[in-house]
Subunit: 365 residues, 2 copies
Amino acid sequence: MPDMPVRMLFGPGPSDVAPSVLEAMARPIMGHLDPAFVELLDDVARMLREIFRTANEVTFAVSGTGSAGMEMALVNLLEPGDRAIVCVAGVFGQRLAEIARRCGAQVDEVVAEWGSPVPDAAVREALDRGPAKIVALVHAETSTGMRQPVERIARDAREHGALVVLDAVTSLAGIPVSVDEWGVDVCYSGTQKCLSVPPGLSPITFSTRAMDAARARREPVRSWYLDVTLITRYWGADRVYHHTAPISMLYALHEGLRLVLDEGLEARWERHERLGGELQAALVEMGFDLLAEEGFRLPQLTAAAVPSGVDERAARGRLLDEYGIEVGGGLGVFAGRAWRIGLMGESCREDKLERLLAAILAVTQ
Amino acid sequence: MPDMPVRMLFGPGPSDVAPSVLEAMARPIMGHLDPAFVELLDDVARMLREIFRTANEVTFAVSGTGSAGMEMALVNLLEPGDRAIVCVAGVFGQRLAEIARRCGAQVDEVVAEWGSPVPDAAVREALDRGPAKIVALVHAETSTGMRQPVERIARDAREHGALVVLDAVTSLAGIPVSVDEWGVDVCYSGTQKCLSVPPGLSPITFSTRAMDAARARREPVRSWYLDVTLITRYWGADRVYHHTAPISMLYALHEGLRLVLDEGLEARWERHERLGGELQAALVEMGFDLLAEEGFRLPQLTAAAVPSGVDERAARGRLLDEYGIEVGGGLGVFAGRAWRIGLMGESCREDKLERLLAAILAVTQ
């Protein structure tokens, strides 16, 4: 393999990876049915339950990236004709709606302006209009840096008999996520954000209600690869072969989860909260406009319009070429005028933030 | 991460991984849109074309295991009501049929006894019965160790206007695969077999005819994650974000492909042919029955009934516990009475074969 330039990753993911996680990935591999390996899977599931704050038996890692987790959540719950209420306030809400449509669902989008959360009341109105199979929402909208309040929407959805699907790709281990307390039925994440593991797996958890719904389907799940009732026969006690698990990635996830629990969830949330706040204050001082509504800003992912007069593409190129620093460009309506800056997991460190701010100052002033 | 026992992998996959591939995987990661990383993707695509023996522009690695590649092939080509002719002579042919059904296709299974190839003539009869959108077949049936002849079936299928889907999960880089010469339209593989890269990616290639068919669909692909027209916008010149590529796995694949091309495909085929033959001769001498029909045996994957009087499960357990050697159990109709022994990629070495044979002798005599 050619030598690759060394980067500091402050984009919307992937984030920097701890050396011990990289080392875990370089261990010699073993078989996916080896008794020692399936024990490791049990460990991964146990640690994921702790981090999702759930007692759900069906908790595992999808053999694909965060978007595969999104697809797994929807494809198992939705059947043709089902009504799906989807909260849309950015690219990842749109993606939820798009996948739900491909499942054959009648999708009812509850839309908010980019940067603002979807209001509880609007979701309640949609629920009052008629029965829905699911309500799906994005906790941390990576395209805008907006934090979507979840608890009230989840409670209303359950009271109306709908299952709650929560996208926690960018939130898990960065800000509080509490699957059982909030009454979330399916919650999925990605490894390459606040968990700081390389991309390639999607942690996911299904409540008993969600599994009952998956088992009560009239039609088979449209995806064989993502059929949760088949996959749980491998991750569960049966250990029946479904597909070959991505061994090395699971080594990495195991070590990454261990680091998260070693630090402690509260300490990790506090670190993200504090440094994210520092970043946002500094950006405002440098003339950036924060794009998410005040009170609903994610500390771990900041979308900010670059100061007027700054060529965003050129400045971003200089950050990469001269400082080895990656930040993300704007997505969707923010493309060409904003940056998305991640301070996630291993990238969210005091000394790294200092270097990031110095570099941003140098390329924008 | 806990210390894991060291294994020699002679199961049906994963196979042993070369140290330089493990090292590649442990490199610090970078962003999936980083100019240096997308150059690496171009390299991967170029090397895959060489190994698939194709000029297909659309050649890349699916962000999932071999079964995700299988699903990607079918889900992009098949629409509800399409007729799919599927060759079934083992578990992986059955899986093709199952996924095709979930795509809404009318599946016409052409069945052969386990261990025997599907006869050309039977496929021709199915083609003569009426138009089919695809003919799908498994080149190396991992459940039986059978090598399916491809060329004649592919030619007949094309003459009847059907697209040819070839499962090369266990064949690619172990025995000759020649996508363009054979007229195959979609061919997919897995990383953890004869490529000797950890599981997690599925190399795949689409012909122009296959891409035309995918673009001419009446309905959107049922899977957003596996929609080839979206993914090629990332792997192609546009570099439009679709999902976050599994960076570390792609580092590993890059290095694994480099090793394959360094050795040379012909030399690699010869190595598998020679050592596989030695293994099979030795197994027969030890009282095993080879389950694939003579003349259609894969050198890289041997299914063999254990000698009478040998408790297959106990003997397999001893191989693992006492010798650190993994072989696979039987699948489907062969469960409980056969082993599946892989000599793939890095596991297919003279010295390793000697250790394997000595251990098998010790636990079965």
